[in-house]
């Protein structure tokens, strides 16, 4: 089927079968490779994108369900002030190691700070629990979110 996808502020005509995960349209059709494939079952969060500003797992979001939505990926999230603050904090604290999960971590962190500008440690741990990092950069993810919160307050 042919459908229209609104992604990162642009409109894309894509050809994909119903039931195709948004992840594979983003990666293989649009060649935006910042959104990662980690598990395919919404268990690791590496594929997190924003749908109307809310984090969703793109591996379990089907293309026919997003036609009227505004999709934002890691490539564009830095245009928003919260996204920019999170990315700045990530660099300041060298949060990343292998980095493969970090697009998803950043997208979830932006989602958290968008609804809760000053999250407690418990709130961070709760909100970020679906984003796995096999390098275990969790200490710095936590600190990065707290740092981004401070940047946004300034």
């Amino acid at each position: 089927m042919s459908l229209t996808l609104k992604l990162n502020g642009k409109t894309h005509e894509v050809d994909a079968e119903a039931g195709t995960p948004l992840l594979w349209v983003i990666r293989d059709e649009l060649k935006l490779t910042g959104t990662k494939f980690g598990c395919g079952v919404a268990s690791c969060g590496a594929c997190t994108v924003h749908m109307n500003g809310e984090p969703v797992r793109s591996c379990q979001t089907y293309i026919e369900d997003v036609e009227d939505a505004e999709i934002t990926t890691i490539e564009a999230v830095g245009e928003d002030r919260i996204g920019a603050a999170v990315q700045q904090a990530w660099v300041e604290l060298d949060v990343v190691q292998c980095g493969y999960c970090q697009s998803g971590q950043v997208m979830s962190a932006v989602g958290l700070l968008s609804e809760n500008p000053k999250p407690s440690v418990e709130e961070i741990d709760d909100y970020m629990s679906g984003n796995a990092c096999r390098c275990a950069t969790y200490q710095r993810i936590r600190a990065g979110i707290q740092r981004a919160s401070v940047i946004l307050e300034a």
Binding site: G78, V96, C98, G99, A136, Q139
Partner: protein
């Protein structure tokens, strides 16, 4: 070292083209320099005519930091800021980019990236500095002794110019045979806490390119349908249902019949078409055992006489000493199979160029492995095979297989096509969990005898499990007198001065494909040694720190002193013995990969309703910490990796088939599992040693010791959640 041969033949042409200064080594190890990219050696440092400096990084980057650390060495020696140096990954060339600790073999592993590059990259940087300074001396007519390079600016008295000014002239000079390395007192970048990772920004904004992100024009995606159990053979297939999938191209039995390759226009089509494919298997030679049976075989081996007397001990005498001891502490341990599960599922892409060359795009941990395998598969000389190393989304050992498993699989999937289209092999998470190479299951049985003063009389230690190294190309390197060192490392070679140590090893039959897993044998030996040390200290009525220190008391033995120092530092920083109300502490210390790490884990709660890991305090001595923040990050990650798996992970087999599928049943450590980690680095003037792995071994036993201190529950069979401990 000798001075390189003259290159006057091409100097003129190089100067005309815009000089590039290259500094590296020849295959014989001598420093060499050249003025253009036509040089007959591969460099470590490249300086373009505009002064852009690039470090050629021979180790792949899986997060452990060489893309920052190796450029740091060169920037330090030349006199640059970190912003003035770029990096690119080296091509596959075992003569120049070999790991100096691996022989003529290019590869990353055993936490050796910095240890083997430390002098090599500094020398290359120092040679470039001396050549630039010599060129400036000639140009300015001043003595070299008055010239320095600071932050990329060549300075002499009131004269100064950017290094770009001298690249052309420097590229005409001979490389110095033995350039002067900077004294540590001159270091501005090495050991500097403010030096940031070179790859942070691109990994936070989606620009970082991993092998999974390769999209070559006209590429096909291939997935392999594999048998449920290792050893099954594909006889044929029915793809009538696959043909219903839009984007499906075709399928082919792999030449080795290990599976069926399914080709599609994109990843999603490949996933669906593989799912729909029906394969006829011959399972007569496949593994059929359950993991309980494999465990029983290991346990039986622990009770029999060992095949190998590892440390040539007098077993009978040690046994007799223990029989006559005042107290005997005995424990049997079991460690299950574990998957590596790096975040980026395995993948690589192969293409054939118009010239018939083969190009592999891969997060290549050991490029020489696939490079050699491809010479056989494609019947090509080495120079016709090229490996482009991409960023790797983790590894923990998985991307380094002695048989280059997934790169060979990709090659086999490519050779059965007409080679007109590049083939990108993609593994799913299920492939990774179910078809992987695993940390072998191991068992340990330990009997320790104590004298009436609470001192160790004898330590009888039996180990049984499947050898990682036997039958691989690494056998000659790692197996001596039948003993695979990776099965027992960290026991008899521990710095502890344990009297009456008798170590036996028995190899158990092949259960599945096994592989080194972050810190290799230390994953189980440190757990056994360090939880036993606590149990023995407890039986002796002595404090765990004081008890350990009494076996590290030789002041003339630096190995013991360094181990003792991290133990003391971790205890001090953790407030050992002063845990807050409701919390308990456990400690462990272990040497691995040349480094010493001690960790204190502080827990609350209880094993029935849930243990909470409140804090981990780590002290590490890894020699000179080239990048202290990367060292801290590696300790944090190594601790998480060690603790996450002992909490709840295992791979089990039913009739030879792996029971687990994906993260829901091979649950990764999550953000809430460890509340805080603090890392302290021991100042050192020793050459750098490993940091990727040494953080892992002490973490799990420190947790076990903390749980035991809290509740009296000592977990000797893993994972903990399967053996009486729940986590909050």
């Amino acid at each position: 070292m000798t001075i390189n041969t003259s290159r006057r033949g091409f100097l003129k042409g190089a100067a005309a083209a815009g000089a590039v200064l290259l500094v590296g080594t020849r295959p014989d190890g001598a420093l060499a320099a050249a003025s253009s990219e036509t040089a007959k050696f591969n460099p470590f440092v490249k300086i373009d005519a505009d002064g852009t400096v690039t470090a050629i990084v021979k180790h792949f980057e899986k997060g452990q930091g060489p893309a920052t650390g190796l450029p740091t060495l060169i920037a330090e020696e030349i006199g640059l800021t970190m912003d003035q140096i770029e990096y690119e990954f080296a091509p596959s060339d075992p003569n120049v980019y070999n790991n100096l600790l691996f022989g003529p073999f290019q590869g990353t592993g055993g936490s050796t990236a910095m240890a083997n590059s430390w002098m090599q990259y500094r020398q290359a940087g120092a040679a470039a500095r001396e050549m630039l300074i010599n060129a400036a001396a000639q140009s300015w007519g001043v003595d070299v002794s008055g010239i320095s390079i600071q932050e990329g600016i060549v300075k002499a008295g009131d004269k100064s110019a950017p290094i770009a000014e001298f690249v052309a002239a420097a590229s005409q000079l001979e490389a110095p045979a033995e350039p002067r390395l900077k004294d540590p007192s001159e270091f501005r970048l090495i050991g500097n806490n403010t030096v940031r990772r070179k790859d942070s920004a691109i990994k936070g904004n989606g620009q970082a390119m991993y092998a999974m992100d390769v999209h070559l024009p006209n590429q096909m995606v291939a997935m392999i349908k594999r048998p449920e159990s290792k050893g099954g053979i594909a006889l044929g297939f029915d793809d009538s249902a696959s043909k219903e999938v839009k984007g499906y191209i075709n399928a082919a039995v792999l030449p080795n019949q290990a599976g069926v390759a399914v080709y599609a226009e994109n990843t999603w089509a490949a996933i669906q078409a593989r799912e729909a494919l029906e394969v006829e298997w011959d399972m007569s030679g496949a593994e059929t055992r359950d993991s309980d049976q494999i465990k029983a075989e290991i346990m039986a081996a622990l009770d029999a006489a060992p095949t190998y007397n590892v440390n040539k001990a007098d077993f009978a005498a040690v046994s007799a000493a223990i029989e006559g001891a005042d107290k005997v502490i005995e424990k049997t341990f079991y460690f299950p199979l574990l998957a590596h599960a790096p975040m980026e599922p395995l993948n690589c892409t192969i293409e054939q160029t118009a010239d018939g060359d083969i190009v592999l795009h891969d997060g290549a941990q050991m490029p020489t492995g696939p490079h050699m395998a491809y010479q056989q598969i494609f019947q090509l000389p080495p120079e016709k095979i090229h490996i482009k190393t991409m960023l790797a989304g983790g590894s923990f050992g998985r991307r380094a297989t002695p048989d280059a498993d997934y790169q060979v699989e990709a090659a086999l999937a490519f050779v059965v096509t007409d080679r007109s289209r590049p083939v990108k092999l993609v593994w799913t998470r299920e492939d990774d969990i179910r078809s992987g190479y695993y940390r072998p299951a191991f068992g340990h049985k330990v009997r320790v005898g104590l004298d009436t003063q609470g001192g160790i009389l004898g330590w009888q230690h039996q180990v049984a499990g499947q050898s990682i190294m036997k039958g691989t190309a690494f056998e000659a390197f790692a197996v001596h007198d039948g003993v695979d060192h990776s099965s027992i490392e960290g026991i008899a070679d521990s710095p502890y001065n344990i009297p009456g140590m008798a170590l036996g090893l028995t190899d158990t039959p092949k259960a599945t494909s096994v592989l080194w897993w972050r810190s290799v044998g230390h994953t189980h030996t440190a757990y056994t040694m360090e939880t036993m040390m606590d149990l023995v200290a407890e039986a002796a009525g002595r404090d765990p720190v004081e008890f350990r220190l009494s076996y590290l008391s030789d002041t003339s033995n630096p190995d013991q002193q360094r181990k003792a120092a991290v133990l003391k530092l971790a205890a001090e920083k953790a407030g050992w013995g002063n845990a807050p109300e409701g919390r308990s502490q456990g400690i462990a210390v272990h040497k691995s990969f040349g480094s010493y790490a001690a960790e204190v884990v502080e827990v609350s709660g209880d094993p029935e309703t849930g243990i909470k890991i409140e804090r981990v305090t780590c002290a590490v001595d890894c020699g000179i910490a080239v990048n202290p923040d990367v060292v801290r990050a590696q300790m944090e990650g190594g601790i998480g990796y060690g603790i996450g798996h002992v909490m709840r992970d295992q791979i089990t087999l039913t009739s030879g088939a792996v029971d687990q599928y994906n993260f829901p049943d091979y649950e990764p450590l999550r953000i809430g599992d460890i509340a805080a980690i603090d890392v302290h680095i021991v100042p050192s003037a020793e050459a750098p040693t490993g940091v990727g792995e040494p953080g892992t071994p002490p973490s799990a036993p420190a947790l076990a010791n903390a749980i035991n201190a809290l509740s009296g529950v000592h977990v000797a069979q893993l994972p903990m959640e399967e053996h009486g401990v729940s986590f909050a």
